[in-house]
């Protein structure tokens, strides 16, 4: 899994610290996109106003092992993501 966050590292660090996590290491691929280029390429940039910021629409994509985009769910609310079961179903179907 790759997660993309549209902030500089400071903001990500602060949020981790605030949530009680290690602010030096996360142990998964939390990718930082402060230039917003990847968020814009994937069509999610600037679409959600939250915490006084203009941030990215929460979106989940699934890419198969040939590199083809097979699934895209663009959230219409911040909890609008596939559930783990739904994701497993999608991955099984690839």
């Amino acid at each position: 899994m790759l997660a993309v966050d549209p902030h500089e590292r400071w903001a990500a660090q602060h949020l981790l610290r605030q949530a009680g996590y290690d602010d030096q290491r996360v142990g998964f691929h939390l990718l930082l996109d402060p230039a917003l280029a990847v968020s814009a390429t994937y069509g999610v940039a600037f679409q959600m106003r939250i915490h006084r910021e203009i941030s990215s629409r929460p979106t989940t994509f699934v890419i198969d092992k040939e590199g083809v985009l097979r699934f895209a769910q663009r959230g219409t609310s911040y909890a609008d993501r596939p559930t783990t079961d739904e994701l497993l179903e999608i991955l099984r179907g690839l």
Partner: protein, 222 residues
């Protein structure tokens, strides 16, 4: 028109002159385009909204203009259109190395819209040397009523005077605007390369072949 040709048409319709770019963005990305699913939910653009594209293209164009964009952007901090003030403050963060601190402080201290104050705080931090204004920022944080703005004043102070990494500007300017909104189900996923929080450099293409990838876009909240 195909999606690619609509992006091209949008790019072609964008002016060169920074002041004109600001008007072009303002016309396409206004407060009225925000709606929220319920009172407890954040605001979201409609799924078919095109306005965000103008914002991204305008951001890149203005940052590419460099110093020449700063005065029009400072002017836009005084716009009656709140969303334009927000866009101007956010863009000035990317041009922080060319931006005097005074208009950013003025926006932080007196803009009625919290988002403007938030991006002004970010921009002060992105200039580097926020510690020169530590007393003012700390006083501002104690007077600031909005929790998120206070948090971003905190970021500016926590940066230890580190300016925005020039690699971020390079990445923004190197981005091909024709790639805007180019991810399509059924087509190859657009390749990209980003730095991970743990210091790793990640390229999507390196995962292809190893197994499926779940790619999740966050808005920046744990």
């Amino acid at each position: 028109m195909s999606p690619a040709s609509t992006v091209r048409a949008l790019i072609d319709s964008m002016p060169e002159d920074p002041a004109a770019v600001l008007e072009w963005v303002a016309a396409r990305f206004a407060d009225e385009g925000w709606s929220h699913p319920s009172p407890e939910q954040p605001y979201l653009r409609a799924l078919d909204d095109q306005g965000w594209k103008a914002r991204m293209l305008g951001l890149q164009r203005l940052v590419r203009s460099g110093e020449a964009a700063v005065e029009p952007l400072i002017g836009a901090l005084g716009s009656e259109q709140a969303d334009l003030r927000v866009f101007a403050a956010q863009t000035l963060g990317f041009l922080a190395q060319h931006t005097p601190v005074e208009p950013l402080i003025a926006a932080l201290e007196s803009d009625p819209r919290p988002s403007v104050r938030l991006y002004a705080a970010d921009a002060i931090g992105m200039r580097g040397s926020a510690s020169e204004h530590a007393e003012l920022l700390e006083r501002r944080a104690s007077l600031e009523t909005d929790r998120d703005v206070r948090m971003h004043i905190g970021y500016a102070l926590e940066r230890n005077d580190a300016a925005l990494d020039p690699a971020v500007i390079d990445a923004l300017l190197a981005w091909d605007p024709l790639r805007l909104d180019s991810a399509r189900v059924g087509e190859p996923a657009p390749d990209f390369e980003l730095d991970g929080f743990d210091g790793e450099r990640v390229r999507l293409a390196n995962f292809v072949g190893k197994g499926p990838v779940v790619l999740v876009f966050l808005y920046g909240d744990t």
